[in-house]
């Protein structure tokens, strides 16, 4: 059994193989893997004797599930009313252009996951950008670029499917 197979087995038995517990199972899988890998979803579907289409439907319905790995850093840009009026829209466009990333997605090199949210409750500091939990206030497209370009990109090895 591969590590991947074992993980599915553990998760499924945690819930007695009950299909009705599909969502908690998927949450566990995401907690373990950081996201929902396609192969793992297929495995889980097969193990539960449930169509993959149903798992995909669930995975795409809930915003908390992700089908792609998270980037090494987390970038959250507030596009709430105040930040928007103060130019968050332009910052968002600039980030998307420059890093080829869509809101909710991850940059192709895995540097960061970009999230646009609707108010972080710090309107006096607008526009606000949060990078790895650190708040940057009164950002402009240029200052945002400066921060993001400075993010370190670690070279991580892809996890290998190891046989046991």
């Amino acid at each position: 059994m591969t590590v991947q197979e074992k993980l599915i087995e553990t998760i499924v038995s945690r819930y007695d193989g009950e299909v009705g517990m599909l969502i908690p199972m998927m949450q566990d899988l995401q907690a373990e893997s950081g996201y929902l890998p396609v192969d793992q979803l297929r495995r889980l579907a097969a193990r539960l004797d449930t169509p993959v289409s149903r798992l995909y439907a669930v995975a795409t319905f809930y915003a908390s599930f992700r089908l792609a790995p998270k980037g090494q850093h987390e970038v959250t840009l507030c596009v709430g009313t105040v930040c928007y009026l103060k130019g968050a829209g332009r910052i968002s466009e600039r980030i998307q252009e420059e890093f080829q990333v869509e809101a909710g997605g991850t940059t192709p090199d895995g540097l960061f996951t970009f999230q646009a949210v609707n108010c972080v409750g710090a309107c006096a500091l607008a526009p606000v950008m949060i990078v790895d939990g650190q708040y940057h206030d009164k950002v402009t497209p240029d200052s945002a670029m400066e921060v993001l370009r400075g993010l370190p990109l670690e070279q991580r090895q892809e996890q290998q499917e190891t046989k046991t």
Binding site: V52, L55, T60, F61
Partner: protein, 273 residues
């Protein structure tokens, strides 16, 4: 049997039949899109609404899944019912403004275009009625396609938007699609059937005798499994097109008759003895 009075016409239907059944029996047309006798009504398109008379008040119901349990009176042509259906049609037109089939139905209903901003969904030209997913699930038991995403991103897709492994290329989804968005494409050269827009493909089975295309290979296997007949001859017949199959059966019958006649077993002869 309960009586349904529709726009003044009285028809009797079985208990549990739907208002739509009654209307069809009465010869009254109610527009439908997501209704198909093969599956339980998803009642998602909302186009078949009629007004139900409840004595002191009236209610709009979807006729395709409203069961008749006692004598009822409904109106298909009341102002409210007509306005409701037209309103729904306008919304549907906003979802698939270019769709020819939808436009034709709208015209028949007296609806001219839509006042709503047209929506750009991730799957164009689809009204999201769910008939295809219902057929694939309920009738075929494959669930190769399903709804994914939500809100404006909701769309009928294969898992991970890749060709679906669970799809057998039967084309049922294309057949029931009320707006003709799901299509069957034949790739003659490769001998493959493609279910568009899902990009799922399956090999076609060619008749062993005449080379005509029969169905997709997985459909043939599926049918064999479903019939649960493991009988050499049946398997052979399943590899032929319907015409060659009939020919072969006919040949067998004549052969059988000749043999039987030789043995003195032809119908009638034996009884006379």
């Amino acid at each position: 049997m309960p009586t349904v009075t529709i726009d003044g016409i009285r028809v009797e239907v079985e208990t549990g039949a739907t208002v739509l059944d009654a209307a069809r029996k009465a010869g009254i047309w109610i527009p439908t899109l997501c209704y198909h006798p093969a599956v339980s009504p998803p009642a998602t398109c909302r186009l078949c609404m009629v007004e139900l008379d409840r004595g002191d008040w009236k209610q709009l119901v979807t006729s395709c899944n409203y069961p008749v349990r006692c004598d009822i009176e409904v109106s298909v042509s009341s102002d409210r019912a007509v306005a409701a259906r037209r309103g729904v049609m306008q919304l549907l037109l906003a979802l698939a403004p270019e769709n020819e089939q939808l436009k034709a139905l709208a015209e028949r209903m007296g609806v001219e275009g839509t006042p709503y901003p047209t929506v750009t969904t991730s799957q164009r030209d689809c009204i999201l009625c769910g008939l295809c997913t219902a057929v694939c699930d309920e009738v075929l038991g494959r669930s190769a396609i399903a709804f994914s995403g939500r809100g404006p991103d909701r769309a009928v897709t294969t898992p991970f938007r890749q060709p679906a492994e669970d799809c057998i290329g039967c084309g049922a989804c294309a057949v029931v699609c009320p707006v003709g968005t799901i299509r069957i494409r034949m790739h003659e050269q490769e001998g493959e059937i493609e279910i568009s827009p899902f990009k799922t493909r399956a090999k076609m089975l060619t008749c062993e005798q005449c080379g005509a295309r029969v169905t997709s290979v997985p459909v043939a296997e599926y049918a064999l499994n479903r019939a649960q007949i493991d009988w050499q001859e049946f398997r052979q017949l399943a590899r032929l097109c319907p015409r060659c199959r009939r020919k072969r059966t006919a040949a067998r019958l004549t052969e059988g008759r000749t043999l039987a006649a030789q043995a003195g077993y032809v119908a009638g002869t034996k009884k006379a003895e």
